[in-house]
C-alpha cells in the first residue's frame, strides 16, 4: 500500500515532470517562429518558468547556436560538423543526429534579445552549482536592474555561502531595488551598497537616480558619486600609466630591432618596418597551418610563430646585408636609399603573394579578454605584450653584453679593421648582427599582429615611431631605447585625455625635436672624445 502510494507519487512526479518538460519544450520550439518581438515574449515566458533546464538553450540562442528544423520547427542546439550540423536536444543535451545546411535555420537574435536573454539567464542560474556562474548571473541582474529578480535574489542570498558571490548578489539586489518602487529607506541602503563598489558601473547607476525627485535619495546619490569620483581620479592616473607602459612596450618592440641595425650598426634601415611586417605574416601563415592541421593546438601557434618569424625575418635580413648593405659600409646615409628600395620591394612582394587585404591573426585564448585590478581593466594581450617586450629586451641585452657574439658585434662596430686583424670574421659578424636585428623585428611582428592590422602597410606605420624612439633614447644604447620607448609612451598617454590623440602625437613630436636640441645625442649619449669620431 505504502509502496503503491510511493509508486503513485513517483509516477505522479514523473508525469508532472513530464508535463513540465513538454511545456518547456513547447516554449522552446515556439522560439522558432516570429520576429524579434515575438521571440522576446517567448524568452520572457521561459524565464518566468524559473526552470534552470532552459539555461543551455537560452545560452545557445544568445550565441547564435540555436537552430530549428525547417520541416517540423523543432529546435536544436547545433554544432558545425563537416558540411552540416550536429544536432543536440535543447533540454537533455543528447546528440540527436545531424542535419544538412539547408535543413535547419538559425533563430535570429539581436542585441536587444541578447540583453533579455542575459537577464533571463541571470535569474535562472542564480542557484547554479558553479560560483562563477552565480557571479555572472548576479552581474547580469545588476546591469539589467531587473526588479523581478529581487525575490529570487533574496532566496539565493539566504542560501549563499560564498561571501564573494553574496557580495555580488547584494549589489545586484541593490541595483534592482533602486529601480523598483521600494521605500526611500531601502533605496538609501542600496545606495550605500553600490557606492561601496566604487567603480564606473556604480557611478552609472548612481547618476541615474541623482536627478530623481526624491531629495533624500538625490543627496545621498550625489555624495556617493563624489566619493566614487575621488577614487576614480587615482585610478585614472594608474590607468594612464598602464596605457603608457603598454604603448611604450609596443614602441619598444617596434624599435628594438632597429636599435641593433641602426643603433649599433649605423645602417639607416628603412626596411625595418617590413621586417616587422614579415614577422606578422609569418604568424598568419603559422596560424593558418594550425587552423587546418591542428586546430586544437591553436593556442600554441604563437609559440611556434616566434622562432619562425625570427628565422624568416632574420634570413631576409641576412640576405639584405649580404646582398646590399655590406657594399655600403663607408656610406651609411646611402643605406637609407637602398633600404627604402628594399622596403618597397618587400611591401609589394607581400601584396602580390598574400593580397592587399588584411589577414586574420587570432588571439590565442590566453591573450583574449581582460581582468581587473581594482578599477583598472587590464587586457591580457596588452599585458603579455608588455611582458614579452621586457623579455626580448633582457635577452637582447644579455646577448649583447655577456656573450662572445655580443663582444664581437661591439668590437666590429667600433673598429672594423682592428677586429678583422684580430681574427674576427667581420663579414660574418655583420651579417649575423643585421640578421639578429631583423629577426628581433620579426618577433616584434608576432606580438604586434595581436593588436594591429596584418596588412602590407603594417611596417610603414611603425617605422617613423621606431626611429624617433631610437634617436630619442640615444643611438647605440639599448637602455636608451627602453627608456625612450616608455617615456614617449607614457607622455603620449598622459597628454591624450585632454589634448586628444592627434594633438598628443604632435606634442610628443615637438617634444622630441626640442629634447634633441637640449641633448643632441639623445637621452643616453656617450660622452668623451670618441663621440665625434
Amino acid at each position: 500500500m505504502l509502496a503503491l502510494a510511493l509508486l503513485c507519487a513517483v509516477f505522479a512526479g514523473t508525469v508532472q515532470a513530464q508535463s513540465a518538460d513538454d511545456d518547456l519544450r513547447a516554449r522552446l520550439n515556439a522560439l522558432a517562429s516570429g520576429g524579434f518581438d515575438e521571440t522576446q515574449r517567448q524568452i520572457d515566458a521561459i524565464a518566468a518558468t524559473g526552470d534552470p533546464r532552459a539555461a543551455p538553450a537560452l545560452e545557445a540562442l544568445s550565441e547564435g547556436d540555436l537552430y530549428f528544423r525547417q520541416s517540423d520547427s523543432a529546435v536544436f542546439i547545433v554544432r558545425t560538423e563537416g558540411s552540416g550540423y550536429a544536432l543536440q536536444d535543447p533540454l537533455t543535451l543528447e546528440g540527436v543526429g545531424t542535419a544538412g545546411r539547408r535543413e535547419v535555420k538559425k533563430i535570429r537574435v539581436n542585441n536587444r534579445l541578447r540583453r533579455v536573454i542575459r537577464t533571463a539567464l541571470g535569474t535562472l542560474t542564480l542557484r547554479a552549482p558553479d560560483p562563477a556562474a552565480r557571479i555572472e548571473a548576479a552581474d547580469a541582474i545588476f546591469k539589467a536592474q531587473d526588479v523581478d529578480s529581487i525575490e529570487p535574489l533574496d532566496a539565493a542570498l539566504a542560501a549563499e555561502t560564498d561571501t564573494d558571490v553574496a557580495r555580488h548578489m547584494r549589489e545586484a539586489r541593490a541595483a534592482a531595488v533602486l529601480a523598483s518602487g521600494r521605500p526611500t529607506q531601502d533605496k538609501l541602503e542600496a545606495i550605500a551598497t553600490i557606492a561601496a563598489r566604487g567603480d564606473r558601473d556604480a557611478r552609472s547607476l548612481l547618476t541615474g537616480i541623482s536627478n530623481g525627485p526624491d531629495t533624500a535619495l538625490h543627496d545621498a546619490a550625489n555624495a556617493a558619486i563624489a566619493k566614487v569620483e575621488r577614487v576614480q581620479g587615482l585610478w585614472d592616473t594608474a590607468r594612464n600609466i598602464w596605457f603608457g607602459l603598454s604603448l611604450g612596450s609596443v614602441l619598444l618592440l617596434a624599435a628594438i630591432g632597429l636599435a641593433i641595425t641602426f643603433g649599433v650598426m649605423g645602417v639607416i634601415n628603412m626596411a625595418h618596418g617590413e621586417m616587422v611586417m614579415l614577422g606578422a605574416y609569418t604568424t598568419f601563415v603559422v596560424q593558418s597551418l594550425f587552423r587546418t592541421a591542428a586546430p586544437e593546438y591553436f593556442d600554441y601557434s604563437l609559440i611556434v610563430a616566434l622562432p619562425a618569424a625570427f628565422l624568416v625575418a632574420g634570413l631576409v635580413g641576412i640576405a639584405i646585408e649580404r646582398g646590399i648593405i655590406r657594399f655600403l659600409h663607408d656610406r651609411p646615409l646611402e643605406t637609407l636609399l637602398a633600404t627604402w628600395g628594399v622596403s618597397l620591394i618587400l611591401q609589394q612582394s607581400v601584396r602580390t603573394i598574400f593580397g592587399p587585404t588584411n589577414q586574420e591573426v587570432g588571439n590565442p585564448s590566453f591573450m583574449s579578454g581582460a581582468f581587473e585590478i581594482g578599477q583598472l581593466t587590464i587586457t591580457y594581450n596588452r599585458l603579455w605584450i608588455v611582458v614579452f617586450a621586457l623579455v626580448v629586451f633582457t635577452v637582447l641585452l644579455v646577448a649583447m653584453k655577456a656573450t662572445r657574439f655580443g663582444l664581437y658585434v661591439r668590437a666590429v662596430t667600433q673598429n672594423r679593421r682592428m677586429s678583422a686583424s684580430m681574427g674576427i670574421r667581420t663579414p660574418l659578424v655583420d651579417a649575423l648582427t643585421f640578421g639578429l636585428g631583423s629577426g628581433i623585428a620579426g618577433i616584434a611582428g608576432v606580438a604586434l599582429s595581436q593588436i594591429d592590422n596584418v596588412s602590407p602597410n603594417l611596417g610603414q606605420s611603425y617605422i617613423i615611431d621606431s626611429f624617433m624612439v631610437v634617436v630619442f633614447g640615444g643611438v647605440g644604447n639599448l637602455w636608451g631605447t627602453l627608456l625612450g620607448a616608455f617615456t614617449l609612451g607614457i607622455a603620449n598617454k598622459f597628454l591624450e585625455p585632454f589634448a586628444g590623440a592627434v594633438l598628443a602625437k604632435i606634442l610628443v613630436l615637438v617634444f622630441i625635436i626640442l629634447f634633441i636640441q637640449k641633448r643632441p645625442r639623445g637621452l643616453f649619449a656617450l660622452k668623451g672624445r670618441a663621440v665625434d669620431a
Binding site: L328, L336, G341, V342, L344, I345, V475, Q517, R521
Partner: protein
C-alpha cells in the same frame, strides 16, 4: 655682377641645362599652343602639365641638393617646405574661387561653409592678393626653416639626429594639417581651383604659362644655386660638409652658414610647391608625408649629389619612370622603382651625372697619351691609414 658671380660655377653641363630650361620655357608652350593637334611636333597639354610637375619636383631636388650635396645636411623633411609653399598658393587659389564654390559663399571656402564656420580665420587674410600669397609661399617655409635651423644648428644637432628630427618636423606638420580644426581643409586639403591671376586654370594657355614659369623658376633656382656654390661661401659649405669641426677651428660660425643655406633651400622648396599646386590642382596634407621627403632625397641621389644638374635630371627621370610604371605595370611598378633605388645606390654611387663624368674622364684618358701613374702610395700614406687615436670630426 651676377655673371661675375657665376663665372667659376658655370661649367659645361650647367650651361647646357640652363639653355635647355630657357628653351623649354619658350618652345613647349609654342609647340603646345601654336601647332594643331595633328602636327607631329604638337605637345599635348597632358604632357605639358606632367612636365611642369616634374620641373617643380626638380626645383625641390635642387633645393635639397644645396643643403645635402653642398652642406651635408640630409633633410628628411624638405617636403614640409614644399607643402607650405603649396598651401600658400592653394590659399590664394581658394580665395580666387569667390562665389563659384558649390555653396557660393563669397568669402568662405567651401570646406569652411561645410563645417559651419562663420568667418574667415585671421591667417587666411590677405591671401586674395597674389603678391602677398607669393611672399608667404617663400616666407612661411623660410621662417620655419630659420626657426628650426636656428635651434638645431646652434645645438649642433648633426648627422642622422638632424635627419630624424627633420622627419619629426614634417610628420608633426602632416598630423597638424590633417586636423580639420586647423582650417586648411583637413585631409581633403585645398582643391577645385578656378583661376590664377584671372586666367582660367584649366585652359591650355594657363597650363603652358605655368610650365614656362616652372622652367624659368628652375633656371633661376639653378643660377642662384650656382652663384652660391661657386662663391667662397660655397667653399665654406663644402668645408662644413667634409670636416665640420675643422671649419669651426678656422673661425667660421658653422651654424650661421648652415642656417643661411638651409633657409635659402627651404624658400626654394616653397617656391617649387607654389608652382606645383596650380598644375596638379590640389594640395593636401599628404604632401607632408615623410615618404615624400625620402623620395626627394632619392631623386638627388639618382641624379648625383652635389652636382646641381644631377638632381634636376634625377627628379625628372625618377618621376617620369613613376608615371610610366604606374600605367604600364600597375601591379608591379613598386618592384621596378624599389629595384632602381637599390641599383643606383649600389652601382651608381655618384649618380647619373657622376657616371657621365667618370665616363667622360675615361674617354679623355684614352685619347690622351697615358701619363705615368703620378702617385704611388708612399709610406706616409700607409701611416695615414692607421686607426688614429683622435679624429677631428
Amino acid at each position: 655682377m651676377t655673371f661675375r658671380f657665376l663665372s667659376g660655377g658655370l661649367t659645361g653641363g650647367r650651361i647646357v641645362m640652363l639653355a635647355l630650361l630657357v628653351a623649354a620655357a619658350i618652345l613647349v608652350p609654342v609647340l603646345n599652343l601654336a601647332l594643331p593637334e595633328s602636327h607631329p611636333l604638337h605637345v599635348p597639354t597632358y604632357a605639358v602639365t606632367l612636365m611642369g610637375k616634374y620641373l617643380t619636383y626638380a626645383l625641390l631636388a635642387l633645393a635639397l641638393d644645396l643643403v645635402w650635396g653642398y652642406c651635408g645636411i640630409l633633410s628628411l623633411g624638405h617636403a614640409a617646405f614644399f607643402a607650405l609653399g603649396g598651401y600658400a598658393m592653394g590659399m590664394y587659389l581658394m580665395r580666387q574661387i569667390g562665389t563659384r564654390g558649390v555653396y557660393g559663399d563669397p568669402v568662405l571656402p567651401d570646406f569652411m561653409v561645410f563645417l559651419n564656420w562663420q568667418e574667415l580665420p585671421w591667417y587666411w587674410y590677405g591671401f586674395d592678393v597674389f603678391p602677398f600669397a607669393m611672399l608667404i609661399a617663400l616666407a612661411a617655409p623660410g621662417l620655419l626653416a630659420f626657426v628650426f635651423g636656428w635651434f638645431a644648428f646652434r645645438s649642433r644637432v648633426t648627422g642622422v639626429y638632424l635627419s630624424i628630427i627633420t622627419q619629426a618636423m614634417t610628420y608633426a606638420l602632416l598630423l597638424a594639417f590633417f586636423r580639420n580644426d586647423m582650417g586648411f581643409g583637413g585631409n581633403n586639403g585645398l582643391t577645385d581651383f578656378k583661376d590664377i591671376l584671372g586666367f582660367d586654370i584649366q585652359s591650355d594657355a594657363t597650363r603652358a604659362g605655368l610650365f614656362a614659369a616652372s622652367a624659368l623658376a628652375l633656371a633661376g633656382g639653378l643660377v642662384i644655386a650656382v652663384a652660391i656654390t661657386a662663391s667662397k661661401l660655397g667653399k665654406v659649405l663644402i668645408a662644413v660638409r667634409d670636416a665640420e669641426s675643422r671649419t669651426r677651428f678656422l673661425g667660421y660660425r658653422v651654424e650661421h652658414y648652415k642656417l643661411f643655406v638651409w633657409t635659402v633651400s627651404a624658400m626654394m622648396a616653397g617656391l617649387a610647391g607654389a608652382l606645383y599646386v596650380p598644375q596638379v590642382g590640389i594640395i593636401n596634407p599628404g604632401e607632408f608625408a615623410p615618404a615624400n621627403s625620402i623620395e626627394a632625397v632619392i631623386w638627388v641621389a639618382v641624379g648625383g649629389r652635389g652636382t646641381l644638374v644631377g638632381p634636376i635630371i634625377g627628379a625628372v627621370l625618377v618621376n617620369f619612370a613613376k608615371s610610366w610604371f604606374t600605367a604600364a605595370l600597375p601591379e608591379f611598378w613598386l618592384f621596378a622603382l624599389g629595384g632602381l633605388f637599390v641599383f643606383v645606390t649600389l652601382f651608381l654611387p655618384t649618380g647619373i651625372v657622376g657616371l657621365a663624368k667618370s665616363a667622360a674622364q675615361r674617354l679623355r684618358r684614352l685619347r690622351e697619351p697615358q701619363t705615368p701613374g703620378r702617385e704611388t702610395k708612399t709610406p706616409s700614406e700607409m701611416a695615414a691609414a692607421r686607426p688614429s687615436e683622435q679624429a677631428a670630426e
